[in-house]
Amino acid sequence: MSVAQAIEALRRELGKENVITATEDLFCYSYDATADLPEQKPDVVVTPENVDQVVKVVKIARQYRLPIYPRGSGTNLSGGTVPIKGGIVLSTLKMNRILEIDPSNLTATVQPGVIIQDLNNAVAPYGLIYPPDPGTVATATMGGSVAECSGGLRGLKYGVTRHYVMGLEVVLADGEVIRYGGKTVKNVTGYDLVRLFTGSEGTLGIITEIIVRLIPAPQARETMLAGFSRLADAGNAVADIIGQKVIPATLEIMDRVTVETVENFAHVGLPTDVAAILLIEVDGIPEVVKSEAAAVRQVIAKNSGWIKTAENDEEREKLWSARRAALPALAQRKPTTILEDATVPRSKITDMLLVVEDIGKRYNLVIGTFGHAGDGNLHPTILADARNEEEMERVRAAVEEIFRAALSLGGTLSGEHGIGIAKKQFLPWEMGNSGVQVLKKIKQALDPDNLLNPGKIVDLT
């Protein structure tokens, strides 16, 4: 049996302790955080400790024609780490060293298994931050977040992971190790492969080292909570704030369903007589923060909202805990939480909010919408019960409509969660068949045997 031989070879090259084959363990690598997807056990899980071992895994996989599924913390929401064809799951969790913090160049070099928050903790003493902060900042790995190009709560002002990756070391499907980019602020040599691999979801290569850009931590910030009795007012306020040329670090929205649920479960003192609330944080130099906060207050008043400002850290923490409680609270209401990632140009945020509300009504589904309103990235979260097949059918139909709506508003299928398995069937809607063909050609060129995370983003036939 070739799988057995492959496992033998892996043991020889990586040592027994880095090769996991017990059925009980394999079960635990058959899923990620994505709801409503089939699960599949891999044949083997490997935990390489360095790039040489990664190369060995790739070569063995080649020899025995086994697919490789790179895996960080498995928190992605698009099925990216589910080994749908069996084979090898390659866990990066043992490659978790911060190799260098370079304050004079404002960079850090890390292995892929480093947890994002650990990097932030390590650079904090230098007065620096690494801005991308997905909701899973305390669990997700750097490798996984680069591969997903994840975003987060600060995306509006600070952008997504892509904007911070300066250099990569990648093991290709043929076992070659390449390095692109570096520490220079300017680098326009050749095609931009750093960007190509960022967001490639493990389908083009295995990332083994990452150089990221750091920025000075903001000196001051002001946090505000605004409430609206009409959903449209909230959406318009978002557009108006940007229209005033104020770019908050955070501009988050929660709709009525979310607010009510949060208040019911978490009792954080949110008003329940609103159609939506906004959580707004401006940061930067103290004087700028002051004037931006004043501008925000004006916009809110103009859009018939009320606004409360956090007077101290304790109050600020309270407002943030309300935002952090959004998903947890929704998750406690029903067993299956389908969190979507539809994103529109920010001027269209009101339209999108109303469309989602309408879809919820028409399909008779509970949908709580919250998200990074400021960058147009909404997370309509459908609450259902996976055991109820009839309801799940409605969920799937509603999801399709949400994507169609986002695209028709000039939006995109994914603001930050990637395509994976979950959304690949919708790709032609956004980029057309010829667009998808280009993706396939790239995949074909770099991984002709379709061994790297096959079945994700595009299928090679």
């Binding site: 009980e24 363990d25 955080a33 998903l327 998750a331 406690q332 067993p335």
Partner: protein, 422 residues
Amino acid sequence: MSIFDGLAAVEEEILKCMKCGNCQAVCPLYQESRREPAVARGKIRLAAAILEGKLEPTDGLAERFDLCLTCLACVASCPSGVKVDRIILAARTALTQKKGLPFIKKAVFTGLSRPRLFDLGVKTAARLQGLLFKNIEPGKMQPRFPIGLELRRIVPPLAPVPFRDQVAEKHAVERPVATVAFFTGCMTNYLYPEIGLAALRVLKAHGVDVIIPRLQHCCGAPILYSGAADMALKMARSHVDLFSSIQADAIITVCGTCGKAFKHLYPELLEDVPGYSERAREVAAKILDITQFLHKLPFNPELFRAPELAVTYHQPCHLGRGLGVVQEPLSIIRSIPGVNYLPLMEPARCCGNAGSFSLTHYDLSYQILTRKLKDIEDTGAQLVVTGCPACRMHLTDGLVKKQMPQKVVHTVELLASSLEEK
């Protein structure tokens, strides 16, 4: 149906897990091993696989479910509110029912569940322990031979006379403000009588009548956590019988695990047992950790004075997250004149002991402890205070091995010794 009837009872709980992975950030075992089966999410998937009939109850499965400190950190941070501990207990129970207990555990637990036999056995062992253990320094011993205990383990000697044999059953004060029944727990009784004596002194100093029922024995938690629900059920019954027959305003414990057994596990175990369910709930309602009780009394700091003392506090998992006793010990410690309280960075992080876990998985357990020791060192405290005899033993083990100067005491011991100073 209770969790002790098997996994079907926790099906809803299992379904609630949305596999978000948040538990990874807090699970001490996952942080050491960085392997998915170690974290709550993985074990929940395994429990589901058993329910779905995809996995048979193998030794391998039992090993995976052993990999949990029941420290409740995942429960506290789970967005979906999954009660992971219930799933783990239900799985362990189901596995034990199918496979039986390992031989050693079975022997020990059979002993534990027969109070008189156990008492006699421990007393005999106390006399003979010099044969098996060598003294490292006063109060600290190390096994000489493999006797089912980890050889590198530093343990306190068995008390020559157990606590309950040292003191009378009833302790009356003049004009009592309250009467309490004191559940001592095994570790206090057999290993740390000084904790029991300290509790007694502090309670009396506050004008409290104390009853220390003779017939009490092991709370059963170690047995229950190993999945032997049937044995634990008998123990629960006898304690409910005993304590519901005593007129007391409260039942005091000095160990979070014992307290949690009485407060949460007994009512669940006895839920469907005729004649017991209501009494189990009444007993549970009276359970208070000693710091909770003192705090309610209210605690009188006037009685205490410590010499200038830098103190830190380790929060036991079952006391803090299990019983919700977080603020009381701190407020008591800080109100003792002379005490300078220096908080740990992560006071609530598990020390790694987790009952028999530290015996069966010594290396992992020690790795977890190492982080705690570092945290202790960084505070600059001279004394570590905690609310659990088992944590005390584990922390002491580490401090001795690392040759760190700090001592560990139970919160009531700090109080009792500060009483003395005055």
